[in-house]
Protein backbone atom coordinates (compact mmCIF):
# COMPACT_ATOMS: atom_id res chain seq x y z
CA UNK A 1 0.00 0.00 0.00
CA UNK A 2 1.29 3.45 -0.82
CA UNK A 3 0.06 6.83 0.29
CA UNK A 4 -0.54 9.62 -2.27
CA UNK A 5 2.73 11.03 -3.57
CA UNK A 6 2.32 14.51 -2.20
CA UNK A 7 -0.14 16.54 -0.28
CA UNK A 8 1.73 19.78 -0.66
CA UNK A 9 5.34 20.70 -0.03
CA UNK A 10 6.30 22.66 3.06
CA UNK A 11 9.26 24.90 2.46
CA UNK A 12 12.05 24.84 4.98
CA UNK A 13 13.11 21.37 5.88
CA UNK A 14 13.98 18.22 3.98
CA UNK A 15 12.03 15.05 4.48
CA UNK A 16 15.13 13.10 5.49
CA UNK A 17 16.06 15.57 8.23
CA UNK A 18 12.52 15.72 9.59
CA UNK A 19 12.26 11.93 9.83
CA UNK A 20 15.72 11.75 11.41
CA UNK A 21 14.55 14.13 14.14
CA UNK A 22 11.53 11.92 14.82
CA UNK A 23 13.70 8.80 15.03
CA UNK A 24 16.25 10.52 17.30
CA UNK A 25 13.45 11.57 19.67
CA UNK A 26 12.12 7.98 19.68
CA UNK A 27 15.53 6.42 20.33
CA UNK A 28 16.45 8.93 23.05
CA UNK A 29 13.23 8.10 24.90
CA UNK A 30 13.72 4.36 24.38
CA UNK A 31 17.28 4.60 25.69
CA UNK A 32 16.00 6.10 28.94
CA UNK A 33 13.83 3.02 29.43
CA UNK A 34 16.85 0.75 28.93
CA UNK A 35 19.53 2.63 30.86
CA UNK A 36 19.60 3.27 34.59
CA UNK A 37 20.85 6.81 35.15
CA UNK A 38 20.22 6.75 38.91
CA UNK A 39 23.96 6.69 39.66
CA UNK A 40 27.27 6.20 37.86
CA UNK A 41 27.50 2.61 39.13
CA UNK A 42 23.93 1.80 38.06
CA UNK A 43 24.54 3.45 34.70
CA UNK A 44 27.72 1.43 34.13
CA UNK A 45 25.97 -1.78 35.14
CA UNK A 46 22.99 -1.13 32.87
CA UNK A 47 25.36 -0.20 30.04
CA UNK A 48 27.21 -3.49 30.44
CA UNK A 49 23.92 -5.39 30.33
CA UNK A 50 22.72 -3.80 27.09
CA UNK A 51 21.65 -5.90 24.13
CA UNK A 52 24.20 -4.98 21.45
CA UNK A 53 21.81 -6.16 18.74
CA UNK A 54 19.27 -3.52 19.75
CA UNK A 55 21.85 -0.71 19.45
CA UNK A 56 23.06 -2.10 16.13
CA UNK A 57 19.45 -1.96 14.95
CA UNK A 58 19.19 1.70 16.02
CA UNK A 59 22.37 2.40 14.06
CA UNK A 60 20.94 0.59 11.02
CA UNK A 61 17.81 2.78 11.10
CA UNK A 62 19.84 6.00 11.26
CA UNK A 63 22.27 4.70 8.62
CA UNK A 64 19.46 3.89 6.19
CA UNK A 65 17.62 7.15 6.91
CA UNK A 66 20.82 9.10 6.30
CA UNK A 67 21.13 7.36 2.96
CA UNK A 68 17.60 8.27 1.89
CA UNK A 69 16.86 11.02 -0.64
CA UNK A 70 18.16 14.24 0.88
CA UNK A 71 16.87 16.54 -1.84
CA UNK A 72 13.20 15.72 -1.28
CA UNK A 73 11.40 18.37 0.80
CA UNK A 74 8.99 17.43 3.56
CA UNK A 75 5.34 17.42 2.53
CA UNK A 76 2.40 18.63 4.59
CA UNK A 77 1.61 15.02 5.44
CA UNK A 78 5.20 14.43 6.61
CA UNK A 79 5.05 17.55 8.77
CA UNK A 80 1.65 16.65 10.17
CA UNK A 81 2.72 13.11 11.05
CA UNK A 82 6.08 14.21 12.49
CA UNK A 83 4.27 16.81 14.64
CA UNK A 84 1.72 14.25 15.83
CA UNK A 85 4.42 11.74 16.71
CA UNK A 86 6.56 14.35 18.48
CA UNK A 87 3.60 15.55 20.56
CA UNK A 88 2.76 11.91 21.35
CA UNK A 89 6.37 11.27 22.40
CA UNK A 90 6.12 14.21 24.77
CA UNK A 91 2.81 12.94 26.19
CA UNK A 92 3.94 9.32 26.57
CA UNK A 93 7.07 10.43 28.40
CA UNK A 94 4.81 10.96 31.41
CA UNK A 95 4.25 7.19 31.35
CA UNK A 96 7.55 5.62 32.43
CA UNK A 97 7.05 2.34 30.59
CA UNK A 98 8.14 0.96 27.23
CA UNK A 99 4.67 0.40 25.81
CA UNK A 100 3.86 4.01 24.84
CA UNK A 101 7.13 4.68 23.06
CA UNK A 102 6.99 1.22 21.45
CA UNK A 103 3.56 1.94 20.02
CA UNK A 104 4.85 5.20 18.51
CA UNK A 105 7.83 3.34 17.06
CA UNK A 106 5.42 0.97 15.32
CA UNK A 107 3.39 3.86 13.91
CA UNK A 108 6.56 5.57 12.66
CA UNK A 109 7.76 2.32 11.07
CA UNK A 110 4.37 1.89 9.40
CA UNK A 111 4.63 5.41 7.95
CA UNK A 112 8.14 4.77 6.62
CA UNK A 113 6.95 1.59 4.92
CA UNK A 114 3.76 3.05 3.45
CA UNK A 115 5.02 6.47 2.42
CA UNK A 116 8.48 5.60 1.09
CA UNK A 117 7.60 6.91 -2.44
CA UNK A 118 10.15 4.62 -4.03
CA UNK A 119 12.94 5.44 -1.58
CA UNK A 120 14.35 1.97 -0.74
CA UNK A 121 16.48 3.34 2.11
CA UNK A 122 13.34 4.59 3.82
CA UNK A 123 11.69 1.18 3.42
CA UNK A 124 14.77 -0.50 4.89
CA UNK A 125 14.75 1.91 7.84
CA UNK A 126 11.04 1.19 8.37
CA UNK A 127 11.65 -2.56 8.35
CA UNK A 128 14.31 -2.36 11.05
CA UNK A 129 12.21 0.10 13.06
CA UNK A 130 9.33 -2.39 12.92
CA UNK A 131 11.66 -5.16 14.12
CA UNK A 132 12.79 -2.90 17.00
CA UNK A 133 9.21 -2.25 18.09
CA UNK A 134 8.43 -5.98 17.84
CA UNK A 135 11.45 -6.75 20.00
CA UNK A 136 10.71 -4.03 22.53
CA UNK A 137 6.95 -4.19 22.86
CA UNK A 138 4.94 -6.65 20.78
CA UNK A 139 7.16 -9.64 21.54
CA UNK A 140 6.89 -9.17 25.32
CA UNK A 141 3.11 -8.62 25.01
CA UNK A 142 2.77 -11.85 23.01
CA UNK A 143 5.03 -13.63 25.47
CA UNK A 144 2.84 -12.46 28.33
CA UNK A 145 -0.12 -14.21 26.72
CA UNK A 146 1.69 -17.42 25.75
CA UNK A 147 4.15 -17.90 28.63
CA UNK A 148 2.84 -21.28 29.87
CA UNK A 149 2.79 -22.84 26.40
CA UNK A 150 6.25 -21.53 25.49
CA UNK A 151 7.72 -22.63 28.82
CA UNK A 152 6.21 -26.09 28.40
CA UNK A 153 7.86 -26.35 24.98
CA UNK A 154 11.23 -25.30 26.43
CA UNK A 155 10.81 -27.73 29.34
CA UNK A 156 9.98 -30.55 26.93
CA UNK A 157 13.15 -29.92 24.91
CA UNK A 158 15.30 -29.76 28.05
CA UNK A 159 13.52 -32.76 29.59
CA UNK A 160 14.08 -34.94 26.54
CA UNK A 161 17.75 -33.93 26.32
CA UNK A 162 18.33 -34.61 30.00
CA UNK A 163 16.52 -37.95 29.78
CA UNK A 164 19.24 -38.93 27.32
CA UNK A 165 22.24 -37.32 29.04
CA UNK A 166 21.25 -37.48 32.71
CA UNK A 167 18.42 -39.96 33.26
CA UNK A 168 18.77 -39.53 37.04
CA UNK A 169 17.39 -35.97 36.83
CA UNK A 170 13.64 -36.09 37.36
CA UNK A 171 11.57 -33.88 35.05
CA UNK A 172 8.19 -32.78 36.37
CA UNK A 173 6.21 -30.15 34.42
CA UNK A 174 8.57 -27.13 34.30
CA UNK A 175 10.83 -28.36 37.12
CA UNK A 176 13.95 -30.51 37.15
CA UNK A 177 15.20 -32.31 40.27
CA UNK A 178 18.75 -33.68 40.50
CA UNK A 179 19.48 -36.58 42.90
CA UNK A 180 21.78 -34.35 45.02
CA UNK A 181 18.81 -32.20 45.98
CA UNK A 182 19.47 -29.47 43.40
CA UNK A 183 16.31 -28.43 41.57
CA UNK A 184 15.27 -25.67 39.20
CA UNK A 185 11.95 -24.40 37.85
CA UNK A 186 11.66 -22.63 34.53
CA UNK A 187 10.14 -19.15 34.73
CA UNK A 188 9.51 -16.47 32.10
CA UNK A 189 13.11 -15.25 31.92
CA UNK A 190 14.32 -18.80 31.11
CA UNK A 191 12.30 -19.03 27.91
CA UNK A 192 14.03 -19.17 24.53
CA UNK A 193 11.41 -16.69 23.27
CA UNK A 194 13.65 -13.79 24.32
CA UNK A 195 16.53 -15.23 22.27
CA UNK A 196 14.26 -15.79 19.27
CA UNK A 197 13.14 -12.16 19.48
CA UNK A 198 16.81 -11.08 19.42
CA UNK A 199 17.47 -13.41 16.49
CA UNK A 200 14.66 -11.80 14.46
CA UNK A 201 16.03 -8.34 15.24
CA UNK A 202 19.59 -9.37 14.34
CA UNK A 203 18.57 -10.88 11.00
CA UNK A 204 16.45 -7.87 10.04
CA UNK A 205 19.21 -5.45 11.10
CA UNK A 206 22.08 -7.15 9.31
CA UNK A 207 20.04 -7.75 6.16
CA UNK A 208 19.00 -4.10 6.01
CA UNK A 209 22.54 -2.91 6.76
CA UNK A 210 23.91 -4.78 3.77
CA UNK A 211 21.09 -4.06 1.31
CA UNK A 212 17.67 -2.43 1.06
CA UNK A 213 15.54 -5.29 -0.22
CA UNK A 214 14.41 -8.64 1.13
CA UNK A 215 15.34 -11.98 -0.41
CA UNK A 216 13.63 -15.34 -0.04
CA UNK A 217 16.84 -16.61 1.50
CA UNK A 218 16.32 -14.31 4.50
CA UNK A 219 13.53 -16.58 5.72
CA UNK A 220 15.93 -19.53 5.80
CA UNK A 221 18.54 -17.42 7.64
CA UNK A 222 15.92 -16.36 10.16
CA UNK A 223 14.81 -19.97 10.69
CA UNK A 224 18.42 -21.13 11.22
CA UNK A 225 19.08 -18.27 13.67
CA UNK A 226 15.92 -19.07 15.65
CA UNK A 227 16.65 -22.81 15.83
CA UNK A 228 20.25 -22.17 16.94
CA UNK A 229 19.05 -19.76 19.64
CA UNK A 230 16.47 -22.28 20.91
CA UNK A 231 19.08 -25.05 21.03
CA UNK A 232 21.61 -22.82 22.80
CA UNK A 233 19.03 -21.88 25.39
CA UNK A 234 18.11 -25.54 25.87
CA UNK A 235 21.81 -26.35 26.40
CA UNK A 236 22.03 -23.53 28.95
CA UNK A 237 18.99 -24.85 30.83
CA UNK A 238 20.50 -28.37 30.83
CA UNK A 239 23.63 -26.96 32.44
CA UNK A 240 21.54 -25.11 35.03
CA UNK A 241 19.67 -28.31 35.91
CA UNK A 242 22.87 -30.40 35.97
CA UNK A 243 24.05 -29.55 39.51
CA UNK A 244 24.27 -26.77 42.07
CA UNK A 245 27.83 -25.65 41.14
CA UNK A 246 26.97 -25.65 37.43
CA UNK A 247 23.90 -23.55 38.16
CA UNK A 248 25.98 -21.12 40.16
CA UNK A 249 28.52 -20.70 37.35
CA UNK A 250 26.17 -20.50 34.37
CA UNK A 251 23.43 -18.48 36.07
CA UNK A 252 25.19 -16.22 38.57
CA UNK A 253 28.88 -16.42 37.64
CA UNK A 254 31.09 -15.76 34.64
CA UNK A 255 29.22 -18.42 32.66
CA UNK A 256 26.24 -16.09 32.26
CA UNK A 257 28.43 -13.47 30.56
CA UNK A 258 30.18 -16.10 28.44
CA UNK A 259 26.83 -17.44 27.23
CA UNK A 260 25.46 -13.96 26.58
CA UNK A 261 28.47 -12.98 24.45
CA UNK A 262 28.49 -16.34 22.64
CA UNK A 263 24.78 -16.08 21.79
CA UNK A 264 25.14 -12.53 20.50
CA UNK A 265 28.19 -13.36 18.37
CA UNK A 266 26.62 -16.53 17.00
CA UNK A 267 23.35 -14.89 15.99
CA UNK A 268 25.22 -12.00 14.34
CA UNK A 269 27.47 -14.44 12.47
CA UNK A 270 24.44 -16.36 11.20
CA UNK A 271 22.81 -13.10 10.15
CA UNK A 272 25.97 -11.94 8.32
CA UNK A 273 26.32 -15.37 6.71
CA UNK A 274 22.75 -15.14 5.43
CA UNK A 275 23.13 -11.59 4.19
CA UNK A 276 26.62 -11.90 2.72
CA UNK A 277 26.74 -10.61 -0.89
CA UNK A 278 28.71 -13.66 -2.11
CA UNK A 279 26.02 -16.03 -0.89
CA UNK A 280 23.24 -13.94 -2.39
CA UNK A 281 24.86 -14.14 -5.81
CA UNK A 282 24.89 -17.92 -5.52
Amino acid sequence: MELPASTGVVAGIGRRELLLWVVICLFANQALQLLDIGSYEAFAASLAAQNIIYWLACYAVIYRLSGSDGARPATRLDCFLASAICVSILLTSFLPYRFGIGLLTTITAGYFLMADRGDRNLTAAGSVLLAISAHQVWGPVLFQLLTPELLRADAALVGETLAWLRPDIIWSQNSFHAPDGHSISLIGGCSSFNNVSSAVLACATVAMLTRTDWHRRDIATLAVACVVMILMNAARLCLLAWSGPQHLFWHEGAGAQILGVAQTLLVLLIAWWGAAPGRRMA
Binding site: A28, S185, G188
Partner: protein, 187 residues
Protein backbone atom coordinates in the same frame (compact mmCIF):
# COMPACT_ATOMS: atom_id res chain seq x y z
CA UNK B 1 7.89 27.60 8.58
CA UNK B 2 11.64 28.22 8.38
CA UNK B 3 14.25 25.56 8.93
CA UNK B 4 15.77 27.03 12.15
CA UNK B 5 12.30 27.24 13.72
CA UNK B 6 11.52 23.60 12.87
CA UNK B 7 14.91 22.51 14.18
CA UNK B 8 14.40 24.47 17.40
CA UNK B 9 11.01 22.84 17.87
CA UNK B 10 12.52 19.39 17.35
CA UNK B 11 15.28 20.08 19.89
CA UNK B 12 12.65 21.38 22.31
CA UNK B 13 10.57 18.21 21.99
CA UNK B 14 13.67 16.07 22.41
CA UNK B 15 14.83 17.86 25.55
CA UNK B 16 11.37 18.18 27.08
CA UNK B 17 10.47 14.53 26.51
CA UNK B 18 13.82 13.37 27.93
CA UNK B 19 13.46 15.63 30.99
CA UNK B 20 9.89 14.48 31.66
CA UNK B 21 10.80 10.83 31.18
CA UNK B 22 13.79 11.05 33.52
CA UNK B 23 11.51 12.52 36.17
CA UNK B 24 8.78 9.91 35.54
CA UNK B 25 11.32 7.08 35.68
CA UNK B 26 12.71 8.36 38.97
CA UNK B 27 9.22 8.55 40.46
CA UNK B 28 8.48 5.00 39.28
CA UNK B 29 11.79 3.68 40.66
CA UNK B 30 11.12 5.32 44.01
CA UNK B 31 7.65 3.77 44.06
CA UNK B 32 9.07 0.30 43.33
CA UNK B 33 11.83 0.68 45.91
CA UNK B 34 9.42 1.83 48.59
CA UNK B 35 6.99 -0.98 47.87
CA UNK B 36 7.72 -3.80 50.30
CA UNK B 37 5.43 -6.63 49.21
CA UNK B 38 6.41 -8.94 52.07
CA UNK B 39 5.77 -6.31 54.74
CA UNK B 40 2.47 -5.27 53.13
CA UNK B 41 1.19 -8.86 53.00
CA UNK B 42 2.30 -9.49 56.58
CA UNK B 43 0.50 -6.32 57.70
CA UNK B 44 -2.73 -7.36 55.98
CA UNK B 45 -2.57 -10.82 57.58
CA UNK B 46 -1.85 -9.40 61.03
CA UNK B 47 -4.56 -6.74 60.67
CA UNK B 48 -7.04 -9.59 60.37
CA UNK B 49 -5.72 -11.18 63.55
CA UNK B 50 -3.93 -14.14 61.99
CA UNK B 51 -0.55 -15.46 63.00
CA UNK B 52 2.30 -15.27 60.48
CA UNK B 53 4.51 -18.35 60.52
CA UNK B 54 8.20 -18.49 59.77
CA UNK B 55 9.32 -19.47 56.28
CA UNK B 56 12.04 -22.16 56.51
CA UNK B 57 13.51 -21.04 53.16
CA UNK B 58 15.89 -18.10 53.48
CA UNK B 59 17.31 -15.57 51.03
CA UNK B 60 18.58 -15.57 48.33
CA UNK B 61 16.26 -18.47 47.37
CA UNK B 62 13.22 -17.37 45.37
CA UNK B 63 10.85 -19.19 47.68
CA UNK B 64 12.00 -17.14 50.67
CA UNK B 65 9.38 -14.59 49.64
CA UNK B 66 6.54 -16.98 50.51
CA UNK B 67 4.54 -15.89 53.57
CA UNK B 68 2.82 -18.56 55.63
CA UNK B 69 -0.02 -17.84 58.01
CA UNK B 70 -2.40 -19.87 60.10
CA UNK B 71 -6.16 -19.47 60.10
CA UNK B 72 -7.60 -20.89 63.34
CA UNK B 73 -10.39 -22.63 61.42
CA UNK B 74 -7.92 -24.48 59.16
CA UNK B 75 -5.70 -27.44 59.95
CA UNK B 76 -2.93 -26.55 57.53
CA UNK B 77 -1.16 -23.25 57.08
CA UNK B 78 -2.14 -21.02 54.16
CA UNK B 79 0.52 -19.34 52.08
CA UNK B 80 0.89 -16.21 49.97
CA UNK B 81 3.45 -15.89 47.18
CA UNK B 82 4.18 -12.45 45.67
CA UNK B 83 5.36 -12.61 42.06
CA UNK B 84 5.80 -10.34 38.99
CA UNK B 85 2.61 -10.36 36.92
CA UNK B 86 4.41 -11.54 33.78
CA UNK B 87 6.11 -14.43 35.56
CA UNK B 88 4.94 -18.00 35.30
CA UNK B 89 4.32 -18.64 38.97
CA UNK B 90 2.65 -22.07 38.92
CA UNK B 91 5.93 -24.06 38.81
CA UNK B 92 7.16 -22.11 41.83
CA UNK B 93 3.86 -22.51 43.61
CA UNK B 94 3.90 -26.25 42.96
CA UNK B 95 7.06 -26.44 45.05
CA UNK B 96 5.47 -24.97 48.17
CA UNK B 97 1.75 -25.76 47.91
CA UNK B 98 0.24 -29.23 47.75
CA UNK B 99 -1.41 -30.10 44.44
CA UNK B 100 -4.92 -30.13 45.96
CA UNK B 101 -4.59 -26.64 47.47
CA UNK B 102 -7.04 -24.01 46.25
CA UNK B 103 -5.31 -21.12 44.48
CA UNK B 104 -6.60 -17.56 44.19
CA UNK B 105 -4.76 -14.78 42.43
CA UNK B 106 -5.01 -11.17 43.58
CA UNK B 107 -3.81 -8.02 41.90
CA UNK B 108 -4.78 -4.44 42.77
CA UNK B 109 -8.58 -4.35 42.95
CA UNK B 110 -9.35 -7.74 41.37
CA UNK B 111 -9.06 -11.46 41.98
CA UNK B 112 -8.98 -14.53 39.74
CA UNK B 113 -9.06 -18.30 40.20
CA UNK B 114 -6.32 -18.72 37.60
CA UNK B 115 -3.23 -16.78 36.55
CA UNK B 116 -4.77 -14.44 34.00
CA UNK B 117 -1.72 -12.47 32.88
CA UNK B 118 -3.56 -10.49 30.19
CA UNK B 119 -6.27 -9.32 32.63
CA UNK B 120 -3.60 -8.40 35.16
CA UNK B 121 -1.71 -6.47 32.50
CA UNK B 122 -4.82 -4.43 31.65
CA UNK B 123 -5.49 -3.89 35.36
CA UNK B 124 -1.95 -2.60 35.75
CA UNK B 125 -2.27 -0.38 32.64
CA UNK B 126 -5.50 1.13 34.03
CA UNK B 127 -3.95 2.08 37.36
CA UNK B 128 -0.64 3.17 35.77
CA UNK B 129 -2.54 5.70 33.65
CA UNK B 130 -4.70 6.80 36.60
CA UNK B 131 -1.53 7.21 38.65
CA UNK B 132 -0.19 9.85 36.24
CA UNK B 133 -3.15 12.03 37.23
CA UNK B 134 -2.86 11.07 40.90
CA UNK B 135 -6.20 9.26 40.69
CA UNK B 136 -5.03 5.73 41.43
CA UNK B 137 -6.01 4.19 44.75
CA UNK B 138 -3.29 1.58 44.35
CA UNK B 139 0.47 1.63 43.87
CA UNK B 140 0.76 0.31 40.28
CA UNK B 141 3.72 -2.02 40.81
CA UNK B 142 3.75 -5.12 38.66
CA UNK B 143 3.63 -7.52 41.59
CA UNK B 144 0.64 -9.78 42.13
CA UNK B 145 0.03 -12.34 44.86
CA UNK B 146 -1.29 -15.87 44.85
CA UNK B 147 -3.00 -17.34 47.90
CA UNK B 148 -2.89 -21.12 48.36
CA UNK B 149 -5.06 -22.76 50.97
CA UNK B 150 -5.90 -26.34 51.93
CA UNK B 151 -9.10 -27.61 50.25
CA UNK B 152 -10.80 -28.19 53.61
CA UNK B 153 -10.03 -24.64 54.72
CA UNK B 154 -13.20 -22.58 54.73
CA UNK B 155 -12.27 -19.12 55.99
CA UNK B 156 -14.79 -17.35 58.17
CA UNK B 157 -13.66 -13.89 57.10
CA UNK B 158 -12.26 -13.01 53.68
CA UNK B 159 -9.11 -10.92 53.69
CA UNK B 160 -9.04 -7.67 51.76
CA UNK B 161 -5.90 -8.32 49.73
CA UNK B 162 -6.36 -5.08 47.79
CA UNK B 163 -4.92 -3.37 50.88
CA UNK B 164 -1.51 -4.79 49.92
CA UNK B 165 -1.28 -2.19 47.12
CA UNK B 166 -3.27 0.54 48.88
CA UNK B 167 -1.48 3.87 48.60
CA UNK B 168 -2.57 5.11 52.01
CA UNK B 169 -1.05 2.03 53.64
CA UNK B 170 2.26 2.57 51.87
CA UNK B 171 2.37 6.27 52.72
CA UNK B 172 1.83 5.34 56.37
CA UNK B 173 4.40 2.56 56.22
CA UNK B 174 6.99 4.83 54.61
CA UNK B 175 6.47 7.47 57.30
CA UNK B 176 6.60 4.88 60.08
CA UNK B 177 9.64 3.01 58.86
CA UNK B 178 11.59 5.95 57.47
CA UNK B 179 12.81 6.51 53.96
CA UNK B 180 15.81 4.24 54.35
CA UNK B 181 13.84 1.01 54.44
CA UNK B 182 14.65 -0.95 51.30
CA UNK B 183 12.02 -3.10 49.73
CA UNK B 184 12.03 -6.48 48.08
CA UNK B 185 9.67 -5.39 45.31
CA UNK B 186 11.40 -7.52 42.75
CA UNK B 187 10.85 -10.87 44.44
Amino acid sequence: MKKPVIRSLCVLVLLASVAVRVQANQTRDAMITDFDAGAAITDVIRDHGYVVRENPVKRPKLLSSVIYFQRPECQQASLVLPYPINAETLPLLARVAKPDFDRHFFYLGRSWDGQHRASMFFEWAKYAVLDIFGASRYVPVRLAIVLAEAPDCHPVAALDWGAVWDKSRHRGAAKGAGAGVAAQAGT
